[in-house]
Symmetry: C2
Subunit: 176 residues, 2 copies
């Protein structure tokens, strides 16, 4: 049985491209089960800015990506992978035209942060052991009331982030 | 002459809608001469986030608005006018599609912060006496090399901000 377990882990490692180094042997079921974070980090709204972005299409949001001090330090020093304890967060608001700005400018060109989106807050929390099954990052997502996104939807996080393993699974680059 | 000066101030106040309370009488020439700030505030990149925005059209930028601690506290408490020492800053990057994000998502929808724009950094510094001629705010603007924007262009700051005197001349609202 022990031999069989190792074989399954080896196959999973090859197939998924995930390096499970220095972790004790576990069952295959444990390896692939993602663990989702259910708490919003304290004080995230005070964190420093990583960058900003606009997702058009169905998302139609404008977003800020923030980092806790560990993540910001790693970003600024170009340190990868991100150290343990790093948290990268993003806040997404609906991307809405600002009538008051446009009126003042005399041009229809200004878009601002509207109401919180369905997936208002999302965080990636670095803990290589706890979240080994998802590249060392735990994923979380919350609506404007702090209610976690349901687990079925959360299962789509890692498959997408996994495609950018060479950037330690983090999409956002630091804006200079 | 003293009476004439007061009359000019009174006329300017009525015409421009600017309240010059508790300031010593000065000549009309002094009242209307704008003073531009020529230094970038230390540590602005560490400031907390006020909001994000996208200016389309000729500007075509995506921007973050940050505030120093005095400004953020006033924003969060809804305190207006902003207290002395408040600084509101904004960083503007070109609004560019992210090919790497779009490729990963399988959808052309992601826009990120590109290179710094011509008016990369702009700040409003609250000093009611020093900047009495421009509503109590000093204005500054810098390119990516820290070079201040020329004074001719700076003269367009206040006429636009003056239109929103009821918001203490500040366009950006705090994003909840």
């Amino acid at each position: 049985m022990i031999r069989m377990t190792f074989l399954l882990i080896a196959v999973a490692t090859l197939a998924g491209g995930i390096a499970f180094t220095a972790t004790p042997p576990r069952t295959a079921a444990q390896e692939v089960a993602p663990v989702f974070v259910k708490t919003i980090p304290n004080g995230y709204r005070d964190w420093k800015l990583v960058s900003v972005a606009h997702e058009a299409g169905d998302l139609n949001d404008i977003r800020a990506v923030l980092g806790n001090d560990i993540a910001i330090k790693a970003y600024r020093e170009g340190k990868r992978p991100f150290p343990e304890g790093s948290i990268v967060g993003r806040i997404a608001w609906s991307h809405v035209p600002s009538e008051e700005n446009n009126k003042t400018f005399g041009k229809d060109q200004s878009f601002v942060a509207g109401s919180p989106t369905e997936f208002y807050l999302q965080f990636m929390v670095k803990d290589s052991k706890k979240y080994a099954a998802t590249g060392g990052w735990g994923y979380s997502s919350f609506d404007k009331n702090g209610k976690p996104t349901d687990e079925a939807a959360m299962k789509s996080c890692f498959p997408c982030h996994q495609k950018i393993q060479d950037r330690d699974f983090v999409f956002t680059r630091y804006a200079q």
